[in-house]
């Protein structure tokens, strides 16, 4: 399935998942030189045609995106009634999808900001793709509440720019408004971080451009980067500052999203562990999606020596850790529901487990808590097939987690006479599928037109490693 790339010929992979204490394993295998790294990353964008699988995937995902367009148009022209949202479940798949997508984005920010501050050099091979994924996930996320407001033509009322125009202020006490600020800040900083980090690599694309329009386009995007010492100095300062600024954002966005639920008094929504639990869940889901995307992408574009099994294994460890944290939060919620002695809270939890939506609850538990446990075994952590399957389970599980929280709690609250059972309509289902189409389309375009691996950063890590183990052949380049 792999396309032939220049770096794949007659080189044997080193198993860099083994680490002898005292000697750091290579982060990039096949003893890649700087030129090889540049060649293999640029190959995805410079080859005259992308692999056939790319065309197939692109055809499918753009079709789904067009379907999404149709669904949104239908919704806007007809009304929210085309969805299944109805009393008592006024928040349903739209909010489930919003929280799902915004959570996916967290892996990118965690990798680019927190792992950077923790000096986790392995992040350099995956940060670019994860950051791109973050942006695309936030695009999908932002769409759902936007179209859910119903009268989308007055959505700008959310912006608090003065009552003289609207004769009304937004409700500052509502966490939904805080979401507007949290998500838009997050989108802005993530986009800046992603773009700024890409500037040196865009300049490489510019320098290697073979056509005039490519040269101009990449030239425009690379902001006149020359690679001078001063440029690098500014760049690294800016990177460090953005990382420090983005770190609180990793926590703040999903914290505010959790406030949407936890500030209320709905049983199953109001619990104090929600903020850190949502953040851990978001990182879990985000890494799940990164693995889902990178397992095929690294094979398709011949990047297995840059995005190595060690990178994949590390991500699987993060999935195991965060999945277990999520399991801890489920257990703690459940324990305190009993311990607190509130009968409504207790009912909310037995209803989750044994009520009409028990299937959703147990799907969530199986996917989120049980399936990642296979990653205790190295064989599973390093098998692309196993990790891909588990990552799909994680995606499913995290979608169901939000479904469990949003729909089950709303469907049966304090008053049994107003209980109900929510069912999605075909519009709900096709809109969700369409959002995956939009996400995949954007990601495929990114793979084809932008540097999928942060070349400059990977080279820095290769240099450090060679330096540490005493190979100095690259020093001439400095």
């Amino acid at each position: 399935m792999a396309a032939i790339s220049p770096t794949m010929l007659d080189v044997v992979d080193i198993d860099n998942t083994i680490e002898t204490p005292g000697r750091r394993s290579e982060l990039v295998t096949r003893n890649s030189s700087y030129a090889e790294i540049t060649d293999s990353v640029c190959y995805a964008a410079e080859s005259p045609h992308p692999p056939l699988a790319w065309y197939v995937a692109f055809a499918i995902s753009t079709s789904l995106t067009m379907m999404l367009g149709l669904m949104v148009t239908y919704l806007l022209f007809t009304g929210i009634g085309v969805w299944g949202n109805n009393s008592p479940v006024f928040w349903a798949w739209d909010i489930v999808n919003f929280v799902f997508w915004v959570g996916i984005g967290h892996a990118g920010t965690l990798i680019s900001a927190i792992l950077f501050l923790f000096r986790q050099n392995w992040r350099t091979s995956i940060n670019r793709a994860a950051e791109a994924m973050t942006i695309f996930a936030v695009v999908c996320a932002g769409m759902f509440p936007t179209i859910h407001v119903g009268r989308i033509w007055v959505i700008y009322y959310l912006i608090p720019y003065g009552p003289n125009q609207h004769a009304i202020w937004p409700q500052f006490r509502s966490p939904l408004l805080w979401d507007v600020f949290a998500v838009s800040t997050y989108a802005t900083v993530s986009l800046l971080f992603w773009y700024m980090g890409m500037i040196p690599d865009l300049a490489t694309f510019r320098d290697r451009a073979t056509t005039r329009w490519k040269y101009n386009l990449y030239g425009l995007l690379s902001l006149g980067w020359t690679g001078s010492a001063r440029h690098w100095h500014r760049y690294e300062r800016a990177y460090l500052l953005l990382a420090a600024l983005a770190t609180p954002l990793v926590l703040s966005v999903h914290t505010v999203v959790s406030f949407d639920f936890a500030t209320s008094q709905i049983p199953g929504w109001h619990t104090t562990i929600f903020p850190p639990y949502f953040v851990a869940g978001a990182i879990f889901g985000g890494f799940g999606m990164v693995v889902t995307l990178l397992v095929p992408a690294r094979a398709l574009f011949g990047l297995e020596h840059l995005i190595t099994l060690r990178h994949m294994e590390n991500m699987n460890k993060v999935i195991l850790a965060t999945g277990t944290i999520v399991g801890y939060a489920y257990a703690m919620e459940f324990f305190i529901a009993w311990y607190g002695g509130n009968p409504y809270e207790q009912f909310a939890f037995t209803n989750r487990m044994f009520g009409p939506y028990a299937w959703a609850y147990w799907t969530m538990i199986a996917c989120n808590v049980i399936s990642p446990q296979v990653f205790w075994f190295k064989k599973c952590r390093t098998s692309p097939l196993v990790m891909w399957i588990v990552s799909i389970f994680v995606n499913i599980g995290m979608w169901f987690e939000r479904f469990v929280i949003v729909v089950i709690s709303l469907s049966r609250d304090y008053l049994p006479s107003s209980w109900g059972y929510y069912s999605p309509t075909w519009v709900d289902i096709l809109t969700l599928i369409g959002s995956f189409g939009l996400f995949t389309t954007l990601f495929l375009l990114f793979c084809r037109f932008l540097p999928i691996v942060a070349m400059a950063e990977v080279k820095g890590v290769v240099h450090q490693h060679n330096h540490a183990v005493g190979h100095h052949e690259h020093d001439a380049a400095h």
């Binding site: 680490e19 005292g22 000697r23 406030f259 109001h270 850190p276």
Partner: protein, 417 residues
């Protein structure tokens, strides 16, 4: 960031003669000089506390003061234990030189398990003055507490306490024993074993730490509940343990000339971690308060109501500013992490604030207004004294730095970029 070599940096850079520092890294005669005075101070503190309590608040006050001081010293061992496990799990290289200190702090949990006996015995003897769920008259009046009697009862409380200490003792023994073994033989398989087991051990640690916090502190207000409570105690413990670590390193470096391989670069990092956990503590504390305040459900707000009235509101404000805004703003500055004097200042500050935090968690269940006198000071001095004595005993004549860790070299060479 400039990385000009400080004089100190260049001395640690000269690890070519690594053998030279390795010989002088035990407490040596210092151990004898500290141990006995610490022990005497400890015992004297407890005697003063007991005597003062006999005059004022009686056994109830003594037990509250004792519990607060106990949770304080216990938190140092828990925070250190977790961080050693995390270092193994992540195959960390930079922190090898600080690891032994944390292993030693953590292993003080063994003597602390004995010091938990006063509380355990009081509970077993039916004392219901500290934990109201142990008081039949209180339980009879409170149906919510009756409903959880299957969890909150003296027998099951004891079994759990024994289990928590068993877990912590097993973890700390395992970490320290293997680490000391590596001092003798530079065997990388020891490191691999530590790395492999730290994952499941963190899992056990998380559960035991959470439920210990629930049992020993949350159940003081037996009707109140918060799912984040365990995380809150954990966050404070991390702040406290890093503050203690920084202070100990600086104290041992200056007059005793020990720990010379721990450079400004390592202290910079432990300072960053202290900063990070200070922010994490604030985040967890804010999450807990914000959600309870906003939802405004009486059964939850009653706990904060006790902390917002009768003078406790000032303690709450001291925490917000003293445990978060002031130290976080100071620690943002690079200088405050790198200068010994400034880092020691913030560490002492945070050690005080960490006690205030636990006092604020526990003491409003004792009295509607803050009480702080000889009983509390005596208990604090007593347990800190005994803790220091335990620490010195644990350190014994062991090296205060790992001598043969395969990643020692990486740690010695480490510098911030």
């Amino acid at each position: 960031m400039s990385h000009a070599l400080t004089p100190e940096h260049s001395t640690t850079g000269s690890h070519a003669q690594a053998g030279s520092w390795k010989e002088h890294q035990t407490l040596g005669a210092l151990a004898g000089k500290i141990w006995l005075p610490a022990l005497i101070t400890g015992v004297a503190g407890l005697v003063v506390a007991a005597g003062a309590a006999a005059v004022t608040g009686g056994l109830r006050q003594f037990l509250f003061a004792y519990l607060t001081a106990f949770m304080y010293v216990l938190s140092f061992t828990l925070g250190s234990m977790l961080f050693v496990l995390v270092q193994h799990l992540t195959r960390a290289g930079w922190g090898v030189v600080i690891r032994r200190m944390q292993e030693l702090i953590a292993s003080a949990v063994l003597p602390l398990s004995v010091l938990f006996l006063p509380i355990l015995v009081a509970v077993l003897m039916g004392n219901g003055e500290v934990y109201p769920w142990n008081n039949p008259a209180f339980v009879a009046d409170h149906p919510l507490v009756q409903a959880k009697a299957s969890y909150l009862n003296s027998g099951w409380f004891t079994v759990r306490a024994v289990a928590y200490f068993a877990i912590w003792i097993v973890i700390t023994r395992f970490l320290l024993r293997n680490s000391l073994k590596q001092d003798q033989t530079p065997d990388p398989s020891i490191t691999i074993k530590l790395e492999e087991r730290s994952g499941p051990l963190i899992f056990l640690f998380a559960l035991s730490c959470t439920f210990a916090a629930i049992d020993w502190m949350m159940s003081l207000a037996p009707e109140w509940y918060s799912t984040i409570f365990g995380v809150y105690y954990f966050a404070g413990s991390m702040v406290g343990s890093f503050a203690l670590l920084n202070l100990l390193i600086i104290l041992l470096q200056k007059p005793a000339g020990l720990l010379s391989p721990i450079s400004v670069e390592h202290r910079h990092d432990t300072g960053k971690l202290m900063f990070g956990f200070t922010c994490f503590w604030a985040y967890i504390g804010f999450s807990q308060y914000m959600l309870i305040w906003y939802a405004n459900i009486p059964e939850e707000t009653l706990w904060f109501q006790a902390r917002q009235n009768g003078g406790w509101e000032y303690v709450s404000l001291v925490l917000i500013f003293g445990h978060f805004f002031i130290p976080a703003l100071l620690l943002l500055r690079r200088q405050f992490k790198r200068s010994k004097v400034q880092l020691a200042f913030v560490s002492v500050w945070l050690l005080v604030m960490h006690y205030v935090d636990l006092y604020w968690l526990i003491y409003p269940q004792f009295a509607p207004s803050p009480v702080f006198g000889l009983v509390e000071i005596g208990a604090l001095v007593g347990l800190v004294g005994l803790f220091v004595a335990a620490l010195v005993k644990a350190a014994g004549q062991h090296s205060l730095l790992p001598l043969n860790d395969p990643r020692l070299d990486e740690s010695l060479k480490f510098h911030n970029i």
